[in-house]
């Protein structure tokens, strides 16, 4: 870990375990703080990564302990990038209904992608849909 402008990069594999996801979140937050990212940017990154990890574990891997989630992230002075891959069958992000539509507003789930897209500067999915790549340009400049 360093704060002199160099890149912090990490690749890891975690179990389909929400505790493991939380541990990673803690590590990520400390790294972002060490590189003096603004609190608003840290909140945005934490939110998007939390939603993406939960999606990978709950929906992609169906909480199957035999399946894992691969994460690769880079923190550069000007941006944060992360790629999260689960071992599930994938999905089509276009199939996710709009959670802000009146008929969906009181559904207890389905808001993760909306939040990810709001908070991150760029969001892409692999063709299969089991990898999400997200970027956050620093200081809220989308």
């Amino acid at each position: 870990m360093n704060s002199n402008g160099q890149v912090i990069a990490r690749q890891l594999v975690i179990a389909s375990d929400l505790s493991a996801a939380r541990h990673l979140q803690g590590e990520l937050e400390r790294s972002l703080h060490s590189l003096h990212f603004a609190e608003a940017d840290i909140f945005a990154i934490k939110m998007a990564v939390e939603e993406a990890l939960v999606n990978a574990i709950k929906h992609g891997n169906q909480m199957n302990p035999a399946k894992s989630v691969s994460i690769a992230y880079q923190i550069r002075p000007e941006r944060f990038d992360v790629r999260i891959t689960d071992e599930g069958p994938g999905f089509d992000p276009c199939d996710v209904p709009d959670p802000t539509a009146p008929e969906n507003l009181e559904r207890p789930c389905g808001r993760g992608l909306l939040l990810i897209r709001h908070y991150m500067s760029e969001v892409t999915f692999s063709d299969r849909g089991n990898t999400i790549a997200m970027s956050k340009v620093r200081n809220g400049n989308k």
Partner: protein, 120 residues
């Protein structure tokens, strides 16, 4: 079978017939914690018969979509008993989450506890 003692996650204070709820953990409402917190909140209505609930988020600095889901379910439970659920003390960052998801239209939200108590 030995059970580990269940860690308290909510502080509930009675102000007349209003249950004022504060969250104990600061960095909470991630997926794992919210399942447990949701159970505690639902118990207020289902088992303890509370109909007026004020959730004070002053101590909360992170809230995921899973938390929003539990709040929606709690709101539905409270409405089913013709009660009232009000939220207060929400930070700017978390208020934005409610606005992005348009849930600021669903929930009654007040700036602080005093204003919220008046609203019941």
């Amino acid at each position: 079978m030995t059970q580990q003692p269940r860690r308290r996650r909510l502080e509930v204070e009675d102000r007349g017939d209003i249950a004022v709820v504060n969250f104990i953990d600061k960095k909470i409402l991630d997926e794992q914690n919210i399942q447990l917190i949701g159970d505690d909140l639902f118990r207020l209505v289902d088992e303890l018969g509370r109909r007026k609930i004020l959730l004070n988020f002053s101590n909360v600095d992170f809230l995921s979509s899973a938390a929003l889901g539990k709040l929606i379910t709690l709101n539905r439970k409270v409405q089913a008993v013709r009660g009232s659920l009000i939220l207060c003390g929400i930070s700017k960052d978390i208020k934005e989450v409610f606005e992005i998801t348009k849930l600021d239209k669903l929930f009654k939200i007040h700036a602080d506890e005093q204003a919220a108590l008046q609203a019941f």
